[in-house]
């Protein structure tokens, strides 16, 4: 009896070892087969139009660092900065087609392809940057991810997160002050709606071509993050900055769905959703840059002021109507995104 039991146990051990070996082989095949292999790491090309060293690029570097650390050599991230692979619209098209694996683009660039995303950059959607960060980490990824998936895109996560402020030639403390002020041709419908609601006079050219504020026929008001405005020289001639933090300016990591679905499960989990913790240093650096820029503007004699409660209230109604208008214009996705942004 004892001998028979021992034999059975041995048979069971052999069978178990066989099953384990088979599973191990299957797992190995799954992780090293298509599209990557142990010999040739899978290449993830990520493109952005941001310059190296910029806040967005710092987040791309953090992303690459995260993949290098957690991918165990499976993935080689190749980064292309400065628009070397093209402008955002073309990059997104390639990602959707599957000829490029990933991009880091501004939400406003994404909105040109997926108009509902523009709701997130509409004024007044987020009270401040902290509220935006909270929403970007909770409800929004699911809502935006579902929307992008229908377009052949997979949301990785949000990169840089900053808020736009007002640069103006004269003090800007109430919406009515902007009536008749010159603004550049809006780059988005959200911007257009806001400019029109302010009663601004729109130039025929965009920000890149518009005469600066120190030009007699130049722009008199613009909305931008302090970092973006100074990097582009748009602060030229500006005398006032209202730290309104009225609109979100953020970058998003997006993958090709076709490419993403061919990845091993483990790798997919590392890529989406991207843990917010990997961007902590980059986000701190971005805020340090913003402070540095604002300090330099003050030193230059620019009046930088944070709106008080009463001043903020004067703008809030205008902002709220704009965000609702964008959500209505792009429903159902837009409304869904607005609800997610507001934590509902």
């Amino acid at each position: 009896m004892n001998g028979h039991g021992t034999l059975q146990r041995r048979r069971r051990h052999v069978a178990l070892a066989g099953v384990t070996l088979a599973l191990a082989l299957l797992l190995a095949a799954a992780t090293t087969g298509e599209p990557g292999s142990a010999q040739a790491p899978l290449v993830l090309k990520i493109a952005t139009r941001a310059p190296f060293g910029s806040p967005e690029a710092l987040h791309v570097e953090a992303f690459a660092h995260h993949i290098a650390r957690s991918g165990s050599g499976l993935v080689e991230v190749r980064r292309f900065y400065d628009g070397a692979l093209g402008e955002p619209a073309a990059l997104l098209e390639r990602v959707a087609e599957g000829t490029l694996q990933a991009v880091s683009v501004d939400l406003s660039d994404l909105a040109r392809r997926s108009p509902a995303a523009e709701v997130l950059t509409a004024p007044g959607v987020f009270r401040d940057r902290r509220a935006a960060l909270r929403a970007l980490q909770r409800g929004l990824p699911d809502a935006l991810g579902a929307m992008l998936e229908r377009e052949g895109l997979v949301l990785g996560g949000f990169g840089r997160v900053d808020m736009e402020v007002w640069f103006s030639r004269a003090r800007f403390e109430k919406p009515a002050a902007a009536r008749g002020w010159r603004m550049a041709q809006p780059a988005s419908e959200a911007e257009r709606g806001l400019s029109e609601a302010l009663g601004a006079q729109l130039l025929e050219v965009g920000l890149a071509q518009a005469p600066p504020m120190d030009d007699a026929s130049g722009i008199e008001l613009l909305s931008a993050t302090p970092i973006a405005a100074v990097a582009a020289g748009l602060d030229r001639g500006a005398s006032h900055v209202q730290l309104s933090d009225h609109a979100l300016s953020a970058s998003v990591f997006i993958y090709s769905k076709r490419w993403f679905e061919g990845l091993p499960e483990q790798l997919r989990k590392q890529l989406s959703p991207l843990p917010a913790s990997i961007f902590e240093d980059a986000r701190a650096a971005e805020m340090a840059m913003r402070d540095e820029i604002l300090a330099a503007l003050r030193a230059r004699g620019v009046s930088v002021h944070a709106p008080g409660r009463a001043e903020r209230r004067r703008f809030d109604r205008l902002y709220r109507s704009q965000s609702l208008a964008r959500a209505r214009a792009t429903r159902p996705d837009g409304s869904r995104l607005l609800r997610a942004a507001r934590g509902r």
């Binding site: 570097e61 690459a64 400065d82 628009g83 070397a84």
Partner: protein, 353 residues
């Protein structure tokens, strides 16, 4: 202060992108000799600010531009009878007094040149010419030192101030001093980063000092991070345009070359203008077609930004096939350009899809 992993990776990546390993010989010797001589104060701790300085490769190139500046209008006596390697519009090179400039490639000579110029610049009655000379010698030294700085970052040991930072800071100080002595109004206009600097008319005689200021200022801003780079870019661009208008042959088309680099990779995508970048490079090459560094920059900045691999390879092969010693006055710079071209060609598959 230690840099965060992201910044170290960013800097390392930048070094890889730009092929900063241009100078592989004598860098550490140079550094240690200068250190030992006690002639150079360490004015900056490195990395003294958090984020990686931005704008990618543009700024790594500044040391090379420094070399250009040093080689530009003051050639050694030995080459006075030769063409400069510049194009039809290039000025004939004036012989340099016995400063040993021709021997600048050796660390001993470079340390001596720094000491000599510094003596004149920091004297009780400082001479503007000595300060300009000091700025240009620091430029060449910076070129030599940049490599060791990048290596220190790549291997994670970049916690002590490399020589490159000393040279950038000292070179900027010398150029600022030269401008204060030559054109106080101009120096005042460039004292703070301005979005729209109003530069007074540039005297042709001040062109080299202003050019060296622009190159050193950009290098320093890059080292200080993306915010500083953004803040200083308008002033640097204005200075380069003024130099170009005053003397387009300065430094073998240096102002046009640097403007071409800035237009290809500005701090903001809104200001990227590849058409303008190409035109700047082409004008620089018209001024000095045989100055190999311009070909390298054209490939590295314009061709990469425009994603033109064929142009990239053609320009770099031209550099490798050229006779770098055809013009003895810029032989050291052309030799560096060849090394850089070889390194860049080796990374073509990394830079292009």
């Amino acid at each position: 202060m230690t840099a965060s992993p992201i910044f170290l990776v960013a800097r390392w990546r930048w070094g890889k992108l730009t092929g900063s390993a241009i100078v592989t010989t004598s860098t550490s010797q140079l550094h240690s000799r200068i250190e030992a001589s006690g002639r150079l104060r360490r004015t900056l701790a490195w990395p003294h600010r958090g984020p990686s300085p931005g704008l990618g490769a543009l700024l790594t190139a500044l040391p090379l531009i420094a070399a250009c500046a040093t080689a530009g209008t003051r050639a050694p006596a030995t080459s006075a009878t030769k063409p400069t390697g510049a194009g039809p519009t290039a000025k004939p090179q004036a012989p340099t007094p016995a400063t040993g400039w021709a021997t600048r490639a050796t660390p001993e000579a470079l340390a001596g040149l720094i000491a000599e110029a510094r003596g004149g610049c920091e004297a009780e009655a400082p001479q503007a010419s000595a300060c300009t000379e000091l700025a240009r010698v620091h430029h060449f030294a910076l070129l030599a030192a940049a490599d060791s700085a990048e290596v220190a970052v790549a291997d994670g040991s970049g916690t002590q101030a490399p020589a490159a930072n000393d040279h950038a800071a000292a070179g900027l100080a010398a150029a600022e001093r030269a401008l204060q002595l030559l054109a106080p109004e101009l120096a005042g206009a460039l004292g703070q980063p301005s979005a729209a600097p109003a530069l007074p008319a540039i005297d042709r005689a001040h062109g080299q000092a202003l050019y060296l200021w622009a190159v050193h200022r950009l290098q320093q801003a890059r080292k200080d991070g993306f915010a500083q780079l953004s803040l200083w870019t308008p002033a640097v661009s204005a200075a380069l345009e003024a130099c170009r208008d005053s003397d387009p042959t300065l430094d073998h088309g240096g102002p046009e070359r640097l403007l071409g680099m800035l237009r290809a990779r500005p701090p903001s995508p809104l200001r990227r203008d590849l058409k303008a970048s190409r035109a700047h490079f082409e004008r620089a090459l018209t001024v000095a077609p045989n100055y190999l560094i311009t070909h390298v920059r054209f490939a590295e900045y314009y061709a990469v930004a425009a994603h033109e691999p064929a142009l990239f390879a053609a320009e770099l092969r031209r550099v490798l096939e050229a006779d770098s010693g055809a013009d003895g006055s810029v032989r050291p710079e052309n030799e560096l350009a060849r090394k850089k071209a070889r390194a860049l060609l080796g990374r073509a598959s990394e830079l292009f899809e």
